[in-house]
């Protein structure tokens, strides 16, 4: 049991590469925190610093208000489930489970009882006498989990522990991990690339980018009220559509946007008025919030051309562009294009090249500043924006 605090923690690799850049996170005792972010954003580095496998370049990492910066890994009482499991190949499953207990000089009788208990919990009893090479991927994964929990560590660290498993097994073990963590109540940091794991596993999600924390919060909150365009585009599968737009009208309670020649007018107090936005912004809308409608000039609607369709079971992803045959698309600045993805029930017939109209409800759209930060101009936040530091 332990509370963890990262205080302005940075990691510089020679190069110099700033892998982690002034990260401050408070993790409560017993909390399950999920770390997400694109490849190379410093997730592994962050938890490896907590484990003592990497030195800390600046800042303080503390476990239960005690700085662990200078403690070697063997004295930190953290346990890690590695991506490749890192089971000791020459030891049996029992030997692997016994190793951390032996290193801590647990009395043999106590150790045996503990191993049996963990084996029972993770259904390892029938394979206790096998070597790792004789196990399936899922069994290895469970042994790695067992080795981590057998010694009651203060902190669990998991670095993409399910990424080597097939989808079905992943779903099953994901649920097991959640219930296991709930039962043991051990503070856990879990690194993942997987959207579903990120949204379902943790108490809170921490989204990172280029070594810095972008947003921390409960999954629903981070999804509903992304702090910036990066978080909005990163979470969700596919992520939020971010369409560069020009703000035309600046009257109070009215926002008029220009999207590649299409004009959209919103008259609602729910929308930030034009005067709060620079002349450029990003219009954000989730793929599932784009619902096909009949053309109607009364309401704000997007006219799109269907470029491609991907059928995925009960629904389909329509890849759209704002361009129409009459009006070629104007080139847009920045890394955002006018490519839009909509998630549509597969009962709707879609035809490549044809035009489609989507209604935009003021509640479903997000406006982000189109500057370097791309911060949210959040009309839903009643108080301060949901950014923690």
């Amino acid at each position: 049991m332990a509370a963890i605090r990262f205080d302005q923690v940075s990691k510089l690799y020679p190069g110099p590469v700033r892998a982690v850049d002034g990260v401050s996170i408070d993790i409560r005792d017993g909390e399950f925190l999920v770390l997400v972010g694109p490849s190379g954003c410093g997730k592994s580095t962050l938890i490896r610093m907590l484990a003592g496998l990497e030195s800390v370049s600046a800042g303080v990492i503390s476990i239960d208000d005690r700085s662990v910066n200078d403690l070697p890994p063997e004295q930190r009482n953290t346990a890690m489930v590695f991506q490749n499991y890192a089971l000791y190949p020459h030891m049996t499953v029992r030997g692997n489970l016994a190793f951390p207990l032996k290193m801590r000089k647990t009395p043999p009788a106590e150790a045996r009882a503990k191993i049996d208990e963990v084996a029972e919990l993770l259904e390892l009893s029938p394979i206790l006498d096998r070597k790792p090479a004789q196990l399936s991927g899922g069994q290895r994964q469970r042994v790695a989990m067992g080795r981590a929990i057998v010694r009651d560590p203060a902190v669990f660290l998991m670095d993409e522990p399910l990424s080597n498993l097939d989808a079905k097994l992943r779903t099953q073990i994901r649920a097991d991990i959640a219930s296991l963590q709930h039962r043991l109540g051990t503070t856990t940091i879990y690194v993942t690339h997987d959207q579903v794991e990120a949204m379902t596993l943790g108490h809170r999600i921490c989204v990172m980018k280029q070594g810095a924390v972008q947003q921390i919060g409960p999954p629903g909150e981070v999804y509903e009220r992304p702090a910036n365009a990066f978080v909005a585009g990163f979470l969700g599968n596919p992520g939020m559509n971010l369409i560069p737009a020009g703000a035309v009208s600046a009257a109070p309670d009215r926002l008029e946007l220009d999207l590649a020649g299409q004009s959209l007018a919103f008259e609602s107090s729910a929308i930030p008025s034009g005067d709060r936005i620079g002349s450029n912004c990003l219009l954000g809308v989730r793929p599932e919030a784009l619902t096909p409608v009949k053309p109607n000039s009364q309401e704000p609607q997007l006219r799109c051309t269907i470029e491609a369709v991907e059928l995925i079971g009960h629904e389909q992803l329509a890849h759209l562009s704002l361009a129409s045959s009459e009006m070629p698309s104007t080139p847009l600045a920045g890394s955002y294009t006018d490519k839009i993805i909509a998630r549509i029930p597969s009962t709707v017939r879609l035809e490549r090249g044809s035009a489609m109209w989507f209604g935009l409800s003021p509640d479903a759209i997000y406006i982000f500043e189109n500057d370097g930060e791309k911060r949210s101009i959040d009309h839903r936040a009643t108080e301060s924006p949901p950014v923690e530091s």
Binding site: G52, E74, M103, R151
Partner: protein, 295 residues
């Protein structure tokens, strides 16, 4: 069973011919010769004499002395050289700058011909206070060391040859073990550290088991090599003093070429082959029981 195609046989043939011509044929000849009284350069005809040469060799004290020395060489060289190579490999596996230079330096003795190495060490072991090792030991002990003639001293000659052999051979083992070290998943060390193992216990529980196969390979090869010791002995001590450093291969060469007793050399060679083969098979069996070979 698959039928061997003509093409397969054709492709294997050059190697098979070479193998037959240079390995199998000479060995069969040696077996044949060992049952005769053949002498090198003798004008007399060759006669079949049955097991006479074997009986002679097996009752010859020099042969047993040579075999005993071989065992002593193996007993000193195998552990000594393996330990040294392991130590070097561990040192040279540190992620420090300029390691390549050191790795090359420590590997260098392997590419020196053993004849050259022997001559260098003859200089090091030179008798009298001017001898390099004597001088060094004298300086180290503040003059208390009595200079001696290492290579002509019945107690020191064999250790001197052992030292030379280890110096020359350790580099090869080091490279094998270094490759083994680098194939150990670093995550295993990290996992062991987080499981509470300090440096020494990580070495014991991660490094050594991870090096199991390279260590077995290196042990078997070094055992065979130390039974085959010849060049150092020929150049440094000529088997002396008083047979203190003689080896079976040295005796074989002595018999066959220096004393022209071709059949006696052949008999010794056959006996020796059977012995080394048996030893290797036993070693392999022992290691296999622990489930490490062929995995």
């Amino acid at each position: 069973m698959k039928k061997w195609s003509t093409a397969a046989i054709g492709m294997a043939l050059p190697a098979l011919i070479g193998l037959g011509l240079f390995v199998v044929l000479p060995f069969l000849l040696a077996i044949g010769l060992s049952f005769t009284n053949a002498r090198l350069g003798s004008p007399l005809g060759i006669q079949f004499v049955g097991l006479r040469e074997y009986v002679y060799v097996l009752s010859d004290a020099t042969f047993w002395r040579a075999l005993g020395n071989n065992c002593l060489f193996a007993a000193l060289i195998v552990p000594g050289q393996t330990a040294l190579a392991l130590g070097l490999a561990l040192l040279l596996n540190q992620p420090l700058r300029g390691m390549v230079v050191f790795r090359t330096l420590f590997f260098m003795p392997v590419i020196f011909p053993i004849a050259l190495v022997s001559v260098v060490w003859i200089l090091i072991f030179a008798p009298g206070p001017e001898g390099m090792l004597n001088g060094f030991l004298g300086w180290l002990s503040g003059g208390a060391w009595q200079p001696r003639d290492f290579l002509n001293d019945p107690t020191w000659a064999l250790p001197a040859v052992v030292l030379t052999s280890i110096w020359q051979g350790a580099g090869f083992q080091m490279v094998v073990l270094l490759a083994g070290l680098q194939s150990i998943d670093p995550a295993l060390h990290e996992a062991a550290a987080m499981d509470g193992a300090g440096r020494f216990r990580r070495f014991l529980h991660v490094t050594l088991p991870g090096l199991r196969n390279p260590l077995i390979f290196v042990t078997i090869v070094t055992t065979i090599l130390s039974f085959r010791i010849f060049d150092q002995v020929r150049i440094m001590t000529n088997g002396g003093p008083k047979g203190a450093t003689t080896t079976v291969v040295y005796e074989i060469v002595q018999a066959a070429f220096d004393r022209a007793q071709l059949s006696r050399g052949a008999a010794m060679a056959v006996l020796f082959f059977v012995l080394v083969l048996g030893l290797t098979l036993i070693q392999r069996r022992v290691f296999k029981q622990h489930g490490a070979v062929n995995r």
